[in-house]
Amino acid sequence: MTTEMSCRRVLIVEDESMVAMLLEDMLTDLGHEVVATVGQMDRAAELVAGAAIDVAILDVNLNGERTYSLATVLKSRGVPFIFATGYGAAGLNEEWRSAPILGKPFQAKDLNRVMREVFEHRAAGDRANT
């Protein structure tokens, strides 16, 4: 049923350390590699702009600040991302409402499903472009 997914290099942007820890464990259990975990906007911006990553998981609200600017950079780099949020899709502004989203709290299987969707969607996009 659930086929193994190849190992992805993941950046976690999350200001709540306990939640970040949980995400790290979930991702590791799913066979992924956590490149870095950051909870500060400036550090996150650096990594988002330059780090070698396959995907980023962005907490929408980072210490009261929205992480849309990070999403914009990732989009321009062609790096997929997932918003993690307690607000649900209604909490995202209109520009990002159709972005992949994980509603907090979530289970490992939800994380796995969204990760899979992100890369399947990308693969379909690549095929369409060639």
């Binding site: 307690g86 607000y87 909490g91 509603g103 907090k104 979530f106």
Partner: protein, 368 residues
């Protein structure tokens, strides 16, 4: 007249027939003039009263002819918009409307003028300072004795503050929901770390997390409706759909608006039943079925009855010890719904019957 006659005759004088006639006519004439003046004064007084009322009411008010051509506004309209009747009469009012809304407003009000349907709309109007404020606007046709529309009488009520308060409330509820969700995620993380370090079977963590997520999903539905009520179909769909499609799990019942406590209790109860069915019951094999049905007492809705019925699963044996799931259903659900719940371990499948009292919440005629 009498004065004139009195001055005219220097000596006492007995009036002749002609003079009497003259006096009589003059008196009648005077009476008519006095009466007319009295009527005019009364009319002017009523007019003043009407103006005082119209100009001092908190709303803007206006009148149109039968075609919708506005010929009168109260003073408040001119005070707010800083315009004159000359600019505003007829369809000139469009000048103070917001360009993003004016077409919609015109379309809608024309429809009312054409059909005679009462008009209601909400839109921004520009003040003389250039600020836009929001107005709830209504107009009703005034008909003559034959039912023909003679005029329309309309009002605009400033609801800017109310809208701001509503936005503020939505913002606050979203923020609160976000914090609750973050806290639930932290609780989940603490539990995960605790269970992991104690080498507990991973299925325990899975069960715990799925319960937490079920609670969180019910919160989402309630948050969407400002924690007033949740539609039972939404609760069922959110709780049950991830586990089985309609070919295995059918859901039938009338629409019920559940009060928050009842919504959470039913979501948690359904979550326990469906996860149990997936593990051991009718959804654990390839063919079993679950039917969820509920009804409301007629004609006077007092009670609501819900049944969860499994068929076609492996043979059921009553458990030797009651798990958290069945205790949650039999105790918590009963407590929060103020009703009754029983789980019947029939050999051919579990049947769970829940009865709850329909309570009327403020503004919710049918919330449980």
């Amino acid at each position: 007249m009498l004065g004139t006659l009195a001055v005219y005759y220097t000596q006492p004088h007995d009036p002749g027939a002609h003079e009497r006639q003259l006096i009589e006519r003059a008196t009648r004439l005077a009476a008519i003039v006095i009466e007319r003046e009295r009527a005019e004064k009364a009319l002017a007084a009523r007019e003043r009263e009407f103006r005082a009322l119209a100009d001092n009411m908190s709303q803007f008010a206006w009148m149109t002819d039968a075609t919708g051509w506005i010929y009168w506004y109260n003073q408040r309209w001119f005070d707010y918009t800083g315009t004159t009747l000359q600019e505003m009469e007829g369809w000139g009012w469009q000048k103070v409307h917001h360009p993003d809304h004016v077409d919609r407003v015109v379309r809608k009000i024309r429809h009312s003028f054409d059909t005679g349907e009462p008009w209601e709309d909400t839109f921004p109007l520009r003040s003389k300072e250039g600020e836009y404020r929001w107005f709830l606007s209504r107009a009703l046709p005034i008909r003559d004795e034959h039912g023909c529309i003679q005029h329309w009488f309309g009002t605009n009520t400033d609801i800017t503050e109310r809208l701001k308060a509503e936005q503020q409330r939505t913002l606050l509820i979203n923020e609160l929901n976000h914090r609750v969700k973050n806290t639930l995620a932290i609780v989940q993380a603490i539990a995960a770390q605790t269970l992991r370090s104690a080498n507990v079977d991973p299925s325990v963590q899975e069960t715990f997390e799925s319960r937490l997520v079920a609670l969180s999903n019910a919160h989402n539905i309630l948050t969407r409706e400002s924690w007033e009520a949740a539609e039972i179909h939404d609760i069922m769909a959110r709780t049950l759909e991830p586990h089985a499609g309609p070919e295995r799990l059918s859901v039938h019942g009338p629409s019920i608006r559940l009060a928050p406590k009842a919504a959470l209790a039913i979501a948690m109860g359904m979550h326990e039943l469906v996860t149990n069915a997936v593990k051991y019951g009718a959804l654990s094999n390839g063919t079993g079925q679950v039917a969820v049905t509920w009804s409301v007492d007629e004609p006077k809705p007092g009670m609501f009855h819900l049944q969860w019925k499994e068929r076609g699963g492996p043979a059921v044996e009553p458990p030797s010890r009651k798990g958290f799931g069945s205790r949650l259903i039999e105790r918590n659900l009963v407590h929060d719904l103020n009703g009754k719940a029983t789980i019947d371990y029939q050999p051919e499948g579990i049947v769970c019957t829940i009865t709850g009292i329909l309570r009327t919440a403020p503004g919710e005629m049918d919330a449980i």
